[in-house]
């Protein structure tokens, strides 16, 4: 089956053959999702691309339904969301799926990013694939941020105020940019309207970039836990049925956890203050973003200078763009990098620590801890990665994927 890759498929169904002769969508599906040769040694980390795709589709489907019932006006937005929750048939389901879907989309993508970093999936020849991924991540963040503004609760309003105000740190043109974002001189109805328009637009841009991400992926195929290239048919299996089934299983398990949140603790990951309607005259005691932004929020506040904080926060993501060139090691997978492997786990802990600092007010011990964690974050990417690649002695790589898999199976 795997060897059939490259030869055009023959369709017995006349209608399919007729269409395919003019528009080869069936050939495409056959080639890219059926016979596509895929390394045979994926572990369950390789499920998260499929999981993220499912979440994206689910977010768009629920989002379109919600949009048909939502009113983007400061005097009606809050109540219209509650109308969806109360009076629209199954509206509560759509809303809770969408609200928790954002969190679970981020969980899937964070694990997907970790997978890429741990197994060196960003290294040649997959640098553009990785960069497209970082663009997807940025688009997701923008979309999620604007979506959180729409229910027009207290955290919606004050979150929007804090984040848009960040741009005022830019010298000279800062305040003009903020006014332009707001469409006025404060976060108000024009802001809500444009955020709604963009929140509807960006997911489709996201879909387009995801398509490019998949195209780039299918040029050289997926990386794998060993980080070595497949050398022949013995190293690969056709995508279908091997990975369609494995992804199907992984997606279902992920959906169980997601469903547990949606149906039993739908407000657990949210902030109670967002069930208070936005009030520009009352500032909440602590303004905190949604959990998935907390590490970046901590970096923002760790720098005791507004512009510096903003630069550090955006820098924390910008550094990911150049990751393929910061890593000087020629070995992809951390399984063969005895030192770097541990630093990968330290980085995960560092990000969790940043998240906890972001959730708490910037006082007492949280300040120096957040600063230290911020320094470490940049140290990891800017110093550790380039240096370690030069001095670390990687373990010997197995001769081929099949060799490693069959030896393991005994």
């Amino acid at each position: 089956m795997a060897s059939s890759h490259g030869t055009p498929p023959v369709f017995n169904n006349k209608v399919i053959a007729w269409i395919d002769h003019r528009l080869p969508i069936f050939s495409y599906i056959e080639k890219e999702y059926h016979t596509f040769p895929t390394p045979r040694n994926f572990n369950y980390f390789w499920n998260f691309g499929a999981i993220a795709t499912v979440m994206l589709v689910l977010m768009i489907a629920t989002g379109v339904v919600l949009a048909t019932n939502y009113t983007p006006h400061t005097t009606m937005a809050f109540d219209s969301v509650e109308r969806i929750m109360r009076d629209v048939p199954s509206g509560w389901l759509m809303r809770y799926l969408h609200m928790n879907g954002a969190s679970f989309f981020f969980i899937a993508v964070y694990i997907h990013i970790f997978r890429g970093m741990y197994y060196g999936s960003y290294k040649a020849p997959r640098e553009l694939l990785w960069i497209l991924g970082v663009i997807i991540f940025l688009l997701m963040m923008a979309t999620a941020f604007m979506g959180y503004v729409l229910p027009w609760g207290q955290m919606s309003f004050w979150g929007a105020t804090v984040i848009t105000n960040l741009f005022s740190a830019i010298p000279v043109v800062g305040q003009s940019i903020v006014d332009w974002l707001w469409g006025g001189f404060a976060v108000d109805n024009p802001t809500l309207n444009r955020f709604y328009a963009l929140h509807y637009l960006l997911p489709f841009v996201l879909v387009a970039v995801v398509a490019l991400h998949v195209v780039a992926l299918h040029v050289h195929g997926s990386n794998n836990p060993l980080g070595i290239d497949p050398k022949g048919p013995q190293d690969t299996v056709p995508f279908h049925p091997y990975y369609t089934m494995k992804d199907g299983f992984g997606v279902t398990v992920f959906l169980i956890v997601y469903a547990a949140f949606v149906f039993f603790i739908p407000n657990y990951l949210g902030d109670a203050a967002n069930y208070i309607e936005a009030n520009p005259l009352v500032t909440p005691t602590h303004i905190v973003p949604e959990w998935y932004f907390l590490p970046y929020y901590a970096i923002l506040r760790a720098i005791p200078d507004k512009l510096g904080g903003v630069l550090a926060m955006f820098g924390a993501i910008a550094v990911l763009f150049v990751l393929p060139w910061l890593d000087t090691s020629r070995v992809r997978s951390c399984s063969f990098r005895p030192i770097y492997k541990w630093f990968m786990f330290v980085l995960v802990i560092d990000v969790v620590v940043l998240g906890i600092c972001g959730a708490n007010p910037p006082e007492g011990w949280y300040v120096p801890i957040a600063q230290l964690a911020t320094v470490y974050y940049f140290f990891h990417f800017l110093i550790l990665l380039p240096v370690l690649g030069k001095i670390e002695r990687p373990l010997p790589l197995p001769p081929s994927i099949a060799d490693a898999v069959l030896k393991k199976a005994g």
């Binding site: 045979r40 509650e82 389901l93 199907g248 279902t252 149906f263 109670a272 602590h286 998935y292 959730a359």
Partner: protein, 269 residues
């Protein structure tokens, strides 16, 4: 090796969910970490994956709301017809609202008051926010439609708040000094900053329950929380029932998927 990787992947997924939870909890703890006491946890009929609303308690709670809270607090997202979801018949609800007058416009476009209908939203005690604020020392009493969701540990907090008043005479001199309390202030153990505009709303026998339950302050508070919890999340029971079915389905499907996956991969290991 394969097993360790699978366990590792699952562990990491769990860790991510846990971290998300930890962030959420950390964020919550901040709001509660002020000087006021943490509300004690009480058992609620609607807790847990199978919890439902106690209809009798919620009906009593409506009586408390209507007799006491409705004088100042609106419940603008609810309509009288919604009360039928609490196990009351149409005629019972009609009977409950027969004395309520709501504002409307007559055929000449003139403002009038007319008897409430089932389709009407709950009558607002004040015509607008400014009027509500003016009548309440400058701060409008909050709408109660989603109040239970709008506070951390909502049911516990609201019960604690309603029963957590301390009379001026019982305050320690230290408390009086620290929070600058005067005789005219209402001191509440659980309210942020302790000084609350709302005077103690409940007292023993403030309402006379139609079902004969003894109306202690604690009973009134529990009942009104049950009612307001329902008001905040009227589809909760439907949500949990659906959830049980969805999760059972997904578990079966995961089992099936796993079996097929194993069969497909059998010749590759």
């Amino acid at each position: 090796m394969r097993k360790t990787i699978v366990t590792g992947a699952i562990a990491l997924a769990a860790l991510a969910a846990l971290a998300a939870g930890a962030f959420a909890v950390a964020a919550e703890s901040v709001t509660a970490a002020e000087s006021e006491q943490k509300p004690p946890h009480r058992h609620w009929h609607f807790e847990g994956p199978f919890g439902t609303y106690d209809r009798a308690a919620a009906q009593r709670g409506y009586q408390v709301y209507q007799t006491v809270c409705a004088a100042c607090h609106s419940l603008s997202l609810l309509a009288y017809r919604n009360l039928m979801e609490l196990g009351l018949t149409e005629n019972q609800v009609k009977d409950l609202i027969k004395d309520i007058q709501v504002p409307d416009l007559n055929d000449d476009g003139q403002p009038v008051e007319r008897p409430a209908r089932l389709s009407d939203r709950f009558r607002k005690p004040f015509p607008n926010v400014a009027a509500a604020a003016a009548a309440n020392n400058g701060k409008a009493p909050p709408d109660l439609s989603v109040i239970v969701k709008a506070r951390e540990e909502g049911p516990d907090y609201i019960h604690a708040l309603l029963t957590g008043y301390v009379p001026f005479e019982k305050l320690t001199p230290a408390q009086v000094k620290e929070f600058a309390v005067t005789k005219d202030d209402n001191f509440n153990k659980y309210f942020p900053g302790h000084k609350i505009g709302m005077p103690p709303p409940l007292a023993d026998d403030k309402v006379t329950y139609v079902d004969g339950t003894k109306a202690t302050t604690d009973q009134e508070a529990s009942d009104v929380v049950e009612f307001l919890a329902w008001a905040s999340e009227p589809h909760m029971e439907d949500r949990k029932r659906t959830g049980v079915r969805v999760i059972l389905f997904l578990l079966a499907m995961a089992g099936l998927m796993f079996a097929v996956k194993r069969a497909v991969w059998a010749d590759k290991h």
